[in-house]
């Protein structure tokens, strides 16, 4: 139980609900009802059936033999990129839309960075016929255009955010402001394991299907439910939380999160929160943050819009602090090269976010008989412009 929340919504010293009174009604409603709703028979039935027939779960656990040969160790890829809408994000939005319906909400808002969470939210809103507003930084709208068009086709209103660096943090600020202004009819689908309690716990539970499947699939493929290590990229940290979830208590399984170093952790242009951050309060949670000595949040930078965030989920801050998980980072350049390598060895073009996890393989000492599982959290369609620019095809 060391890695679950306490009665105040804390993982160790991280988490909580640092909300203004204007958000109290919404958060307390969610807090008192989320577990009861999630554990009700009708809910899990609908959730499981949508994951199977709509998302396409279970997602395959693929043995990447040429990549394994390259690294001299067994490498499995958890293919979240094969989910409907192209990433793990749909696991969470399916769960939250069912929750929102049961709370009687008619309007859905979301923040998005790479657009994967916005796309997954717009998708479930179309599925359920609910109004959808997605906040997205103007910088991200420019660099993730295919997703913006998809969201609009799905009927979502995509609102450009022009404050700060015009990226994920700023989109989150604006979504929180929207929620304050709509305290009755609106549910805010946060896309990662961030924000006030109960979001980090709730989103981790919805994403935990990833690790539940990995255990089963590993048993079938290797004879053991437990790998040597799990590797996942971390921005807010939802795919990593889902990948680690059912292994947290298995102390012999090594957990590795990979942050976005941008142009390098010491370059001033980075999003590697744990590498350069310190404890603080942002987006209603006490967690690790990139900030200056006056408590002003530092603008993050990463080529990957989905990891371009100056904070991290409180679960990861806790796993970092306790040493349960290790956090590495990968630069833009290392990430691009890793994406290229996977493409050429396995015929899979990964999302830039997921390619950070692949880039870390160069930094992890691996032995031939070890079993490594990398969460391939998303596919690279949305990143073709960045790949084409770098590789010049």
């Amino acid at each position: 139980m060391k890695y679950t929340i306490d009665q105040f919504g804390y993982y160790g010293e991280f988490g909580g609900a640092w909300i203004p009174e204007m958000m109290y009604a919404n958060i307390s409603e969610l807090l008192t009802r989320y577990l009861e709703i999630m554990e009700s028979p009708g809910f899990s039935q609908e959730f499981d059936s949508l994951l199977k027939d709509y998302v396409g779960r279970p997602s395959p656990l693929y043995y990447a033999s040429r990549l394994s040969e390259r690294y001299g160790s067994h490498l499995y890829l958890k293919r979240e990129d094969l989910n409907h809408t192209g990433s793990h994000k749909l696991n969470n939005t399916i769960g939250q839309i069912l929750l929102a319906q049961r709370l009687g909400k008619t309007r859905i808002i979301a923040e998005t960075g790479a657009g994967q969470h916005g796309l997954a939210t717009a998708t479930v809103c179309a599925l359920k016929g609910l109004q959808c507003v997605v906040y997205m930084g103007a910088t991200d709208i420019a660099r993730q255009e295919p997703n913006v068009r998809k969201m609009r086709m799905l009927g979502a209103e995509v609102v450009p955010v022009n404050s700060g660096n015009k990226t994920l943090k700023d989109a989150t600020n604006e979504a929180m402001r929207d929620w304050i202004n709509h305290p009755e009819d609106t549910h805010y689908i946060i896309g990662s394991v961030v924000g006030p309690h109960p979001y980090p716990d709730m989103v981790a539970r919805f994403q935990s299907v990833i690790s539940a499947e990995i255990r089963k699939q590993l048993l079938e493929k290797t004879g053991s439910e437990l790998p040597t290590r799990l590797i996942a990229c971390v921005g807010g940290g939802s795919n990593a939380a889902g990948t680690f979830y059912h292994f947290l208590e298995e102390e012999q399984v090594e957990l590795i999160g990979v942050e976005a170093a941008g142009r390098g952790v010491d370059s001033g242009e980075t999003a590697a929160t744990l590498a350069v951050g310190s404890p603080g309060v942002l987006h209603a949670a006490r967690t690790m943050l990139m900030q200056n000595s006056d408590g002003q949040i530092t603008e993050p930078y990463s080529i990957s819009a989905g990891l371009d965030y100056p904070g991290i989920g409180p679960l990861h801050a806790h796993l970092f602090k306790t040493g349960r998980a290790k956090y590495l980072n990968a630069t833009d350049r290392e990430t691009l090269e890793a994406a290229h390598l996977l493409t050429r060895l396995e015929g899979i073009i990964p999302a830039l976010e997921s390619a950070h996890a692949l880039a870390a393989l160069d930094k992890i000492p691996m032995k031939p008989d070890e079993v490594n599982v990398v969460c391939l959290s998303g596919r690279g369609d949305k990143d073709m412009a960045a790949y084409l620019e770098y590789f010049g095809y």
Partner: protein, 259 residues
């Protein structure tokens, strides 16, 4: 006696409280604006500590936060600007802002600095009452500092009574469910909320804030509370042409009949 308590003891109605962001429009405007507000008859001042991510604020106060930070404002600098302020003004002063800058400054050190400077109260909307009780109450009380709590139209009767027990100085009534400066029209729902709080008859006096911008909205708020708080409208007034004397004088005269 805390100057906030003193004010409410001596003035029961039509209290005007004005909010502005420290270091805006100019880095060194903080103290002159405080002096001008007092000279023009304002009763209470809330000095905003700028923050990079003001999630409860609308566009006007977001803008003043951004500008103040660009000007080089910080909490450290604010305290040094406010040194000696008690030789200049006697009205109650409140610091208002987000928790993170206070946390990085050190909460205990912050409370001590407030007392040394002559600050009477603090409003930190994202420091919820349960965290305040758990970790910080002793620092505030030990320095004679009021922690002022907010209530909104969504706050239940039970929680309003609880806030009344826990708040210091007064209850900050957020007029409508919104970020600052939203300027929503006064609705029946709002009137119902104002009446509901009045019927609960809290021990603490109340000030109404958010969406108060001119004489009409100020007068309306004063029917239901001891007074009102204006923020965004004053931030806008500070960006109009003119000297600080002219801008502050013109703004206060728009709200209060000549004093």
């Amino acid at each position: 006696m805390n100057r906030i308590d003193h004010l409410f003891q001596n003035k029961k109605s039509r209290i005007l409280s004005v909010f502005f962001t420290a270091g805006f429009p100019g880095l060194n405007d903080t103290v002159p604006i405080i002096e001008l507000l007092e000279k023009n008859g304002v009763d209470l001042i809330e000095i905003g500590i700028p923050f990079s991510d003001p999630t409860a604020d609308g566009p006007d106060i977001q803008h003043s936060n951004d500008e103040a930070l660009k000007n080089g404002m910080s909490l450290e600098l604010l305290f040094s600007q406010l040194e000696g302020i008690r030789e200049k003004v006697s009205l109650p002063l409140i610091l208002m802002g987000y928790f993170n800058p206070v946390m990085q400054f050190g909460v205990e050190r912050f409370c001590r600095k407030c007392r040394e400077t002559g600050i009477d109260g603090v409003i930190l909307p994202d420091l919820p009452p349960w965290e305040y009780d758990r970790q910080y109450k002793a620092y505030f009380e030990g320095n004679g500092l009021h922690n002022i709590l907010l209530i909104t139209p969504q706050t239940s009767d039970e929680r309003i009574r609880e806030a009344d027990r826990q708040t210091g100085g007064f209850l900050y009534m957020v007029s409508s469910s919104s970020t600052t400066g939203a300027g929503k029209e006064v609705s029946d729902f709002q009137t119902e909320y104002f009446e509901r709080v009045r019927r609960l008859n809290p021990d603490h006096p109340r000030l109404i804030g958010f969406g108060i911008s001119n004489r009409a909205t100020f007068e309306n708020a004063c029917q239901y509370a001891s007074g009102a708080i204006i923020g965004s409208a004053f931030i806008r007034a500070l960006q109009e042409p003119g000297t600080p004397e002219e801008k502050v004088g013109r703004f206060v005269r728009q709200i209060l009949p000549s004093v």
